[in-house]
């Protein structure tokens, strides 16, 4: 007689039915009733077959799905790592050193609202359609949230904790490493997560606008050829990778950020 569990299970069934209904309606509207032309929205079975086929077939964009994923992930990692390595120290310096804050903050405030997407043409003019161009776009998408979060993480350090450290004779430098940084860690971590999301978005935009490989490129080829099954496979792949990344971050956060994050 466990009512709470029974109700939970009931909602799980509803979720399952809802999912099946969604697929059912999609199938009915496309494959059976043909309400929309196949080039506009293929039926779910077609999407699944294309998805499976893309694992070994190189048409129409010249690479298998895994090759495309690797091409995208490679660029994303490159830009992301650079963004993190530069962004976090910059943010920490801005939050900890008054002079740096005063000089860099206004410039940063001006740069912050520029969507990295807007820089794509600049990079294409500079570097052509290349790995560097995309990596720099992703760098910008990463560096801004990293700076924002590590800056505000340091800024939100509890003044009392700093005073406590001072009364124990900690130097300014020791205060940073023993008090400010650890207390900013959850914030910085949240920044890494946001950065991952925005760099993923930057990557897709860069690949749509100028690229010769990657999932974004595959999607834009799909569009050019009116192969909406390819587009949807691409979008779903992006979504799945997005989920994997966020699961990975959940695990990392559990491992690294102790003492609870700010939620």
């Amino acid at each position: 007689m466990n009512t709470a569990k029974r109700i939970n299970r009931k909602y799980k069934y509803i979720s399952l039915i809802s999912m099946l209904a969604f697929l059912g309606i999609w199938y009915l509207a496309t494959a059976v009733l043909k309400l929309v032309p196949a080039y506009s929205l293929p039926d779910p079975v077609k999407v699944i077959t294309t998805f499976v086929q893309k694992f070994y077939m190189k048409v129409p964009d010249g690479a298998t799905l895994l090759q495309n994923i690797w091409a995208s992930v490679k660029v994303a990692m490159l830009g992301y790592v650079f963004g993190v390595v530069i962004g976090i120290p910059t943010g920490v310096a801005m939050g900890w050193i008054k002079a740096v804050e005063k000089i860099v903050r206004p410039v940063f405030d001006f740069i912050k609202p520029i969507p990295p997407i807007a820089l794509i043409p600049v990079m294409i003019v500079f570097f052509g359609i290349s790995l560097q161009a995309k990596a720099i776009i992703i760098f910008f998408s990463t560096v801004i949230p990293c700076i924002v979060n590590s800056y505000s993480g340091i800024k939100q350090t509890n003044q009392i904790h700093l005073w406590v450290a001072q009364t124990f004779g900690a130097t300014r430098r020791q205060q940073l490493f023993t008090v400010a940084l650890p207390s900013a860690l959850p914030m910085i971590f949240a920044g890494l997560r946001v950065a991952m999301g925005s760099s993923w978005m930057g990557l897709v935009a860069a690949e749509l606008l100028g690229s010769t490989s990657g999932i974004g490129y595959m999607i834009s080829v799909g569009r050019a050829l009116l192969r909406s099954d390819i587009i949807i496979v691409g979008i779903l792949t992006l979504g799945i990778i997005g989920i994997l990344i966020s699961v990975m971050f959940d695990l990392l956060e559990k491992l690294l950020v102790r003492g609870g994050s700010e939620k």
């Binding site: 979720s15 410039v107 043409p121 999301g197 606008l209 569009r223 691409g234 997005g242």
Partner: protein, 263 residues
């Protein structure tokens, strides 16, 4: 006393200026004395062009402010629809278990897909007109607003609901006087993030397919290899982004006044 306050004032004005001046000088030096000058205009050229475009058309018909207004109108249309829909979906998911069970799996499928990834599909579905752009902008903002509103609706203090019922409130009154106000800070956080992703989405959409708007200004600059025009577009975007962010902060101050301790 007086001297130090003058010194302080000088610090708050001078140091930020140092940052901007340094960037402009480095830019100017790079352009004048290195090969980057072949690609990049000087800051002065960009400024001249910016002022020129304020009164003269870029492309065929529109001046820079007109392009900005066109983009702004698109953003606001998509953003408003996304806000209304996002708040409704978020709150109903957070407050009604059956709706949560039905909607959540489908939403979880859509959530990890980066907003710009919808561009190709939107073009296949709706052509290159305004509908496609509104859809892309909508998708950009919708997800963020739902996620936040949903979190807010789930965090409504159940004891306060009890208080309201005990004081004689009906379900509808409890909704409007307890659920909605306690969601407002969350909704607002979602709308702030949403507005910036909408702004990003409009640029991407205009860069992929459009004949006007700031995104087009930038991409047209790329097409005719006119770096100054690209920079004019980027600066216009930054200014607009700053204004939008300031507007959102102002609205937040008004709507979330009850959270401030001071005075």
């Amino acid at each position: 006393m007086k001297k130090s306050s003058i010194k302080q004032k000088a610090g708050t004005i001078l140091l930020p200026a140092v940052g901007f001046v340094a960037i402009l000088v480095i830019w100017w030096l790079l352009v004048s004395f290195t090969r980057i000058g072949l690609l990049l205009p000087t800051p002065l050229e960009v400024l001249k062009r910016f002022i020129y475009f304020l009164g003269n058309p870029i492309g065929k018909a529109f001046t820079l402010p007109m392009h900005l207004l066109i983009s702004l109108r698109r953003v606001l249309t998509g953003f408003c629809i996304a806000s209304v829909a996002g708040i409704i979906v978020g709150i109903s998911m957070g407050r009604f278990k059956p709706i949560e069970a039905i909607v959540r799996p489908i939403f979880e499928l859509v959530r990890p897909i980066p907003g710009v990834a919808w561009i190709p599909l939107a073009i296949v579905w709706f052509g290159i007109g305004e509908t496609a752009k509104t859809f892309i902008i909508f998708m950009g903002g919708f997800v963020n607003i739902v996620v936040n509103t949903y979190a807010g609706a789930r965090h409504v203090d159940e004891r306060l609901m009890g208080v309201a019922y005990m004081l004689g409130a009906s379900k509808i009154q409890a909704f409007f006087r307890v659920v909605l106000p306690s969601c407002v800070p969350y909704i607002f956080a979602g709308m702030q993030v949403g507005l910036s992703t909408c702004w990003m989405a409009v640029l991407a959409a205009e860069m992929v397919s459009s004949f006007e708007g700031v995104g087009w200004v930038i991409i047209a600059g790329q097409d005719i290899n006119d770096m100054a025009q690209i920079f004019v577009g980027i600066i216009a975007i930054a200014v607009m982004g700053l204004l939008l962010a300031a507007f959102m902060r102002f609205m937040e101050r008004i709507l979330c006044r009850w959270r401030e301790r001071g005075a």
